[in-house]
Amino acid sequence: MRYPIVPIDHCMTLTAEYLAKGWRPIEPDEMALSGRGPDADLRALADAATLIRARLAEYRDSDEASDRDRFEGEAAGMLHRATRELPLMVLDDPQFWRFVGLQHLWQFVHWRERERFDSGEPTRYLRLVDARVPHECVVTRMFLRAQVARRGDDYTLASALGDSAELWHGHILKRDVAASPPLARALVASHLDARMSSSELRTTSRNLERLTANLVTAMIDDDQARDLVALARSTGEV
């Protein structure tokens, strides 16, 4: 299957250009492709991106506009639904995600992390678009967040919590817990039931890592995950 990609050098020059002169679409003659055979069907992705941009325009003017993470969670479900059936080879390719972020979702990505882009320092902003570290790049971390939160076609858990960047980015996506959706969902649900302070969250997260260090996390089901999170929360500082 053939699919569009953005190599790393093009990613850097495009990002610098977008920051200096504003966004423009990647022209067909500058678009790189990877793979062979029929073209990947990316209509659902384009539709979802259009929807996300339209929702963003409303959200920016809403009372919730300061909670950019909540919108990231909402858009995460839309993005995942539109891409989840693509071949794994495509989803695993950081070059494809650079295309998604720069061609389809630049306005959102820039709005979401504008302070880091405004810093003007490539070392601070490049990883938000280059997809080399999946939990740091905006579009790949959205995909992972929705993958963890998803129950069938329901993605509400991804945006159920307000101001939850600390939970998602600090305690789920960059940790081993991201590879166990039941465990991650149980942690989010527990936080939703009774919100933890930053300090409680750190302690619970650390306890959970200790409790699961000797477990094969792929075998943890929803019931066991709930028990483990409850234990991690009740144990306190060890």
């Binding site: 794994l88 950081p94 280059d130 570290v133 590879a179 166990s180 075998m219």
Partner: protein
């Protein structure tokens, strides 16, 4: 994993299970995966082949290995029906882990000497995602919850013993794509117009960091275009090697600083999946096996004598001297 996060095993009497488990081997594409080791294959091979659990080199060996593993599990105080053998495959970039194959340990004897996993039709996620590669864990694991007792595993899913393996592709090798050092990049980094190279290395000892993201190499736009136009000329080959050495020098010095500052582990084993870990692992590879003692020695050398570590890397680079000598003589002619 940092040293503070190192797995604590609060259990006794499982050493024998671990020893017996290591007699079982994993194979991929006809090559053996050494315990705690890494195999690198072409993308086409990665996407087509399957993993095989080899329980013995012949039927006699298989019977012995299976019987002794079962015996070790029972001697550790578990009934055979309480314990499974499982192969877990992970796709690290996609953050997916799957139990690709599993059997109660008392039924292991029913399987043959070679157990194929991940053939066509039921391909695990981890074997369809070549950019991040595949993490394979073979584990002896508790199948049910047991009554809690001190120093004894009791939670369902607790591993009694395990071996880790990694299958990578050439898409995830140590390496870098030089990026054009343009006027804009020079301006961003406040560099003079004549600067030809800029190398940045950060979090090189952090196993959580994608090794590819730890290192960025910029080369003057014109020089890079010339390299691309004549990649096989003697001058180009020499410059490519010199760039590699410069990049690895930056990695070594960043690693030395990070370890000294306590940001990176003192122990190679804790950081082997980091960029510096990949470099050290390749330097310490001996016929597909990583010599762990040698790897730790190199790790300590990086920390205490970074200049010596750079000299060792230069010695490890194949054909560096020839490329350099040829490039000099070509330039003089």
């Amino acid at each position: 994993m940092t040293s503070e996060q190192r797995v604590v095993r609060p259990y006794a009497g499982l050493e024998s299970v671990q020893r017996r488990l290591t007699r079982l081997r994993l194979e991929f594409a006809g090559q053996s995966l050494s315990a705690s080791g890494r195999l690198s294959v072409a993308v086409t091979v990665f996407l087509a082949e399957r993993i095989t659990i080899v329980t013995g080199s012949d039927e006699q060996q298989r019977r012995t290995n299976v019987a002794e593993l079962l015996e070790a599990v029972e001697q550790a105080g578990f009934a055979a029906h309480q314990v499974d053998l499982a192969l877990v495959l992970g796709a690290p970039r996609l953050r997916v882990q799957q139990v690709a194959w599993r059997t109660p340990i008392d039924e292991l004897d029913r399987h043959g000497q070679r157990i194929d996993v991940g053939g066509a039709g039921a391909r695990p996620v981890a074997l369809a995602a070549p950019f991040g590669g595949c993490d394979a864990t073979l584990a002896v694991v508790l199948a049910d919850d047991l009554d809690p007792r001190p120093l004894r595993p009791f939670r369902r899913g607790t591993w009694l013993a395990r071996t880790h393996h990694r299958i990578a592709t050439d898409l995830g090798q140590i390496g870098f794509t030089p990026i054009p050092l343009t006027e804009e990049v020079r301006a961003e980094h406040e560099l003079p117009a004549r600067t030809l190279r800029l190398i940045t290395a950060e979090r090189v000892t952090d196993p959580e960091m994608d090794p590819d993201a730890s290192l960025t190499v910029y080369v003057d736009q014109e020089v890079l275009a010339q390299l691309a136009a004549e990649p096989r000329s003697r001058g180009s080959r020499s410059l490519q090697m010199q760039l590699f050495l410069d990049a690895m020098t930056a990695v070594v010095h960043a690693g030395s600083r990070e370890i000294a500052a306590g940001e990176g582990s003192d122990t190679f084993l804790d950081a082997q999946e980091s960029l510096l870990g990949s470099l050290v692992r390749q330097m310490a590879a001996r016929e597909d096996e990583v010599d762990m003692e040698l790897a730790q020695h190199y790790w300590t050398t990086v920390k205490n004598q970074p200049e010596r570590a750079v000299a060792l890397i230069e010695g490890w680079l194949p054909d560096f001297k020839n490329a350099l000598v040829n490039s000099i003589s070509e330039g003089a002619s």
